[in-house]
Symmetry: C2
Amino acid sequence: MAAIDRSEAVSTSAGTGARRARVLTGFRPTGPLHVGHWFGNIQNMLALQRERDAFFFIADWHALTTDYEDTSRLQENVRGLVLDWLAAGIDPDAATLYLQSHVPEVAELALLLGMLTPISWLERVPSFKERLRDLAEREIANYGYLGYPVLQTADIAIVHGELVPVGEDQLPHLELSREIVRRFNRLYGDVLVEPRALLSETPLVPGTDGRKMSKSLGNEIGLRDAPDQIRAKVSRMVTDPQKVRLGDPGRPEVCPVFALHRRFSEDILAETDAGCRSGELPCVRCKANLADRMVVQLAPFRERREELEALPGTAEEILAKGSEKVRPIVEETMAAVRDGMNLG
Amino acid sequence: MAAIDRSEAVSTSAGTGARRARVLTGFRPTGPLHVGHWFGNIQNMLALQRERDAFFFIADWHALTTDYEDTSRLQENVRGLVLDWLAAGIDPDAATLYLQSHVPEVAELALLLGMLTPISWLERVPSFKERLRDLAEREIANYGYLGYPVLQTADIAIVHGELVPVGEDQLPHLELSREIVRRFNRLYGDVLVEPRALLSETPLVPGTDGRKMSKSLGNEIGLRDAPDQIRAKVSRMVTDPQKVRLGDPGRPEVCPVFALHRRFSEDILAETDAGCRSGELPCVRCKANLADRMVVQLAPFRERREELEALPGTAEEILAKGSEKVRPIVEETMAAVRDGMNLG
């Protein structure tokens, strides 16, 4: 595998050409969105749907690579994610939203791409062994898990995805997709679009324990959390460990509570910083200030989300509409793929 | 993986119950059938279509696991194999003949089965490393090649295959399929049928060089070979290496020509054996006797095959009809699979 060519990466600010480039991004339906998603994925998606030909899909098959043993909440998570997106302002008229398994040809393309993907390329992806270690308690050293990047390549290629938003750490995955596409095109003609990275910054939003907010760590504040839940979670947040008692001077730059203030508390940011440093602002007060603002600023999401919850069939309708939109693209791709490979 | 339980294997002579068991067997479309196939696969298939609910499919996707680099003859090979089957007496009204890639759900099921198939199970299949070594000149250490048994399991399970004809050497493959099906059923309910082995003897038919007849060794006598080609190939066959000159006594039991006499020359078998042992029968004469009989006995196949060749669209029609026959079975299986896994 060639080294990553950073010159191919495209910055998020670029792209004011006549035709809007197709950008594709997928989400595993692992549960309700939280504050970490809000400032990362969701803000990126809102920008993408304004500026690009945005395709957002829910990767239900990908969820099986690590969570195949218990799929009891899968349907509920898919439905919930669509409604979370809508409540957050993702607009099904501006972007194409669809469910991976509604496009079964993705499996066919993945099968075909797998024929020409060396096992060694897959084992070399940095996250492969890392996740095996992190999730050691689950039996995930499975064929499907190893093939994650192949399936991802099929997701991208089947809709002619040109740009894929990635963080620095995911560049090797995208480079692998590019390698697979190049190999396919070399063997069977210029059929698939070679995707490029759209380098996206994902701000580090800490969870209640100070580590990156993540459902799997159980440190998340959900976008749908009730005001009481938000207040309770914020009140239990870790703070600067050197600020032990009232009056001790604190260091906002190491405090997870202050990191969230940066996101929610523009109005009192300077005084919070000063009060922390001087020791005059008690942590209890500081946390209450944050929780007040989170409750207020997340209220519109929560309300829209409740409204959507009350409309049965909304998620299903959106996904059905999305499937229809991608169908002709998928059929065109697969006809060219089968033709290129001399399949009937 | 558990050890192979031979008690589960079913002998070919069994099965006179009320309902005929569904037996499934697939062929890679690698080129015209030869005499080795005639006495192996074809005779087995003719028996299966009489005695069982026989499903015969052409595994075009499987062909890509080792021959992905050049697919230029794939379509022609698929079409040719259907016509070879018909000419050999395979009856599309008695058996269901279809093309693997006409059932794209096979790829979906393979993807899903892959999620729960440990990589270690796949690496442990005896033929995995063997073939990697045999085909070292081709780059086949690919993801699709590793997943061959997963795709095979999907082929079987998607049509509720109950019996799979296998030789002793393929028992580990089938045992792996059984393991995968059991694991699926344990996780998602009793959805898939666990296939059993139908132990089939494949007689060893030697090629012109004395090794097992095989297209990849270039030692085959094709079922469609013209009389002149048959005579030329037989005349060049190796014989007992100890019978060097005319008059030397020969050993029929080690002579590949005699091995073919056993298949084609019932009328002169005893005198051929005696003449060889005494040294009175010259090899040239012995070979001419064999070639005469092969030409006569293969003539009906060759004629039917030419007739079929002259009817355009025959293969396509047969395969389309087969797809239609398997479609409802496939849809039923996939509905149960998706339901069991909580996919939409």
